[in-house]
């Protein structure tokens, strides 16, 4: 009898603790909303000075895990200068968008979060704060800022600028006595020579869906010619443009892909980023598809003696359109509804304007600074990229005009093409259809 009584009591205890547990989170939400309102009034009175103030906590949940160490150092430095600020930094290796959505729907928008730049700036617009009138916006370089705009408003900033183009092994080209090809026919000739000499001309990375978008944007830039690439992409999204009308897309792009498959890895659809890096570092491969500034450090770690070259994609027989692309494809955003908006803005302004913050990009993170007048780190790709931009200008970062939903479908369609399951016309038809289907709906 006693035992039964005990068990019933236990049972009730368990249930009630659960209910209490649920209940308390429910009640916590209410004051939180109040607090948000209170703070929104606060910025008017104390705009810059939050030091000496009460302790504040900034929640930062961003992608780009490769810079976790550098960002931790940045935060540590900030916290020694402003001891009242605690920054909870969180990052994730993959599936960032899904995790972010879970947080947003749970009503816990991080104070600093990330998205891709360009089109996705719109997708998260109702959560992000317009930093256009903040010092950070003044300091941001123009190429980066261009991808963060929503109309006149600035809705993001970047951890780094970036360079996209062909990374190549200068040693092989020098040994064979050929220049890096600027036109498609030169490229074909170069491939023949390289493979005759026993090297593999290309490593493709075609197992990764995002490699295709990096290659494709150079051809899109060329197709747009003097016009605006964003308008060309919008025309595709509205179903008004056809691949066939643009020889740069219909002929040259596929000519390039065919060439990379012919002169590329033995198993192109199993080659991923790591395999590409290993192939380049091995010194047996001449050119790398679909990559950019981010692979240099990793490749040099495997083979420090490699002589790296960097240039644009040969598109057709016009050497002028062979350009590198610069800009930033990732955006960090400040939450509009942040409870600690002032403290968050202070932090990001400090990041972009203080001496430590400006030097951080080169010294700690080793990336192309997304700010004006900051020294660039000592990497070949960045130096050569800078030189190319100075000499021939940079292409527009066309990848940002479509979202990754489209790019993933685009990559998969291209994989089918590489695998030989669909032909060129079917591939073009599917790409046109996906553009309308996936991007038309997102608007």
């Amino acid at each position: 009898m006693k035992k039964k009584l005990l068990s019933i009591v236990l049972c009730i205890a368990m249930v009630s603790t659960m209910l209490i547990g649920c209940g308390s989170t429910a009640t916590e939400e209410a004051p939180a909303e109040d607090a948000a309102e209170v703070v929104e009034e606060a910025p008017a009175e104390e705009t810059t000075e939050t030091a000496d103030a009460e302790p504040v906590e900034i929640n930062m949940f961003i992608a780009s895990p490769e810079y976790a160490d550098a960002i931790n150092q940045l935060i540590a430095e900030y916290q020694t200068q402003f001891p009242n600020v605690t920054i909870n930094y969180e990052t994730t290796q993959n599936d960032y968008p899904t995790l972010l959505k879970a947080k947003l729907n749970a009503g816990e928008c991080p104070d600093i979060f990330s998205s891709t730049s360009g089109k996705e700036i719109q997708t998260y617009l109702e959560y992000s704060y317009n930093i256009g009138s903040e010092p950070i916006s003044e300091s941001m370089s123009d190429a980066v800022k261009a991808t963060m705009m929503s109309g006149e408003e600035v809705h993001g900033f970047a951890i780094k600028g970036n360079y996209f183009g062909v990374v190549y092994n200068k040693g092989i080209f020098e040994e064979l006595g050929i220049e890096y090809p600027q036109t498609m026919s030169d490229l074909e000739a170069a491939c023949e020579k390289i493979s005759a000499a026993g090297y593999t001309p290309f490593t493709t990375g075609f197992a990764e869906w995002w490699v295709y978008k990096h290659v494709f944007q150079h051809f899109l830039d060329a197709a747009a010619g003097e016009g605006d690439v964003s308008e060309l992409v919008s025309a595709f999204i509205n179903g008004e443009a056809k691949m066939k009308d643009y020889p740069e897309l219909y002929d040259d792009f596929f000519r390039f892909i065919d060439l990379t498959v012919k002169y590329g890895d033995a198993k192109p659809l199993e080659t991923d980023l790591a395999a590409e890096e290993a192939a380049l570092a091995s010194g047996k491969v001449a050119m790398v598809c679909g990559q950019g500034a981010w692979i240099e450090a990793d490749v040099l770690k495997i083979n420090p003696d490699l002589k790296i070259g960097f240039d644009g994609y040969p598109v057709n027989d016009n050497a002028d359109v062979c350009k590198v692309i610069s800009g930033s494809d990732q955006a960090l955003r400040v939450s509009k509804d942040s409870k600690v908006l002032t403290a968050t803005l202070d932090f990001v302004n400090w990041w972009y304007t203080s001496d430590y913050g400006k030097a951080w990009f080169k010294d700690t993170a080793g990336v192309i600074p997304p700010v004006k007048e900051a020294a660039a780190p000592d990497f070949e790709i960045i130096k050569q990229g800078d030189a190319h931009v100075a000499a021939e200008g940079a292409g527009a970062l066309a990848v940002t005009y479509s979202t990754d939903s489209f790019h993933q479908a685009f990559g998969e369609t291209m994989q089918s093409y590489v695998a030989g399951t669909i032909d060129k016309d079917e591939t073009c038809a599917q790409i046109e259809q996906k553009w309308v289907e996936l991007e038309g709906a997102a608007q």
């Binding site: 049972c11 959505k101 939903s405 479908a409 669909i422 997102a442």
Partner: protein, 294 residues
Amino acid sequence: MKLGKQKKMALETFLYTLPALLLVALVIYIPFVLSGFYSFTKWNGIAKEPELIGFGNFVKLFSGDKDFVQSLLFTGKYTLFFMIIANVLALELAVILTKKIKTANLLRGFFFIPYIMSMTIVGFIWKFIFSQGFAKLYEMSQLEVLNLSWLGNPDLAFYSIVFVGVWQSVGFYIVLYIAGLQAVPQDVQEAAIVDGANGVQKFFRVILPLLAPSITTCIFMSLTNSLKVFDIILALTKGGPGASTYSVTLNIYREAFQNNNYGYGAAKSLVFFLIILVLTQLVLRGFKSREVEL
């Protein structure tokens, strides 16, 4: 305050199951009902207010979604291959492992180990074996079969996935079959031998019919598990190459979380739920009716 004994029992049962029930409701039933609601909305998973559009999502789905049909076909093909191979293989191995082999216990352990590993890890291990491992083995042995692009060729990728799926879970079905085999009474088997049945006859005429309950369980489990296949594909091929290995679950996941069509994804998942429900009930009925009692 005197409760009747039955009432008290009922109350006790209710109270005991309540904590579990609440948790299950919280993570399964409530989200299920909510996704039912979302399937009637146009929502990208980000906007603060989903927009109600009635049956729009279902109309779109039934008026022909090529990718969804494609993934249904893939899942069907996978289910068929997985069920047959996993069950036949597990039954064979179970029969061998119930024989008096010295290392039987050890072997049972070996077969079971992959099952305790998480699917994602198994996927990554095999991805490594298929790419780097096979390349090295090919260098050493020059066997052409190792030089095939097992994950890069749309047709081969399917068999790679089936193989890894079976490899991972066959241990589980072996355990179920071993339990069933051990429950087959010795006297019936001896009687069959006395009646002059040879080994094959004994197996197909006596043991197999008596094993029917185990078979039903295993078929049911393998059916539901293979219909819901997800993580192994995500780890091995991510649906590639060229969208050739999309299962329905992966298709739904991508629709909802990557294409930002949360409402449409929810509608797809409801339809898929109904498909699973009907299919499993049919198969279960079919196999139950064939079971024999001693």
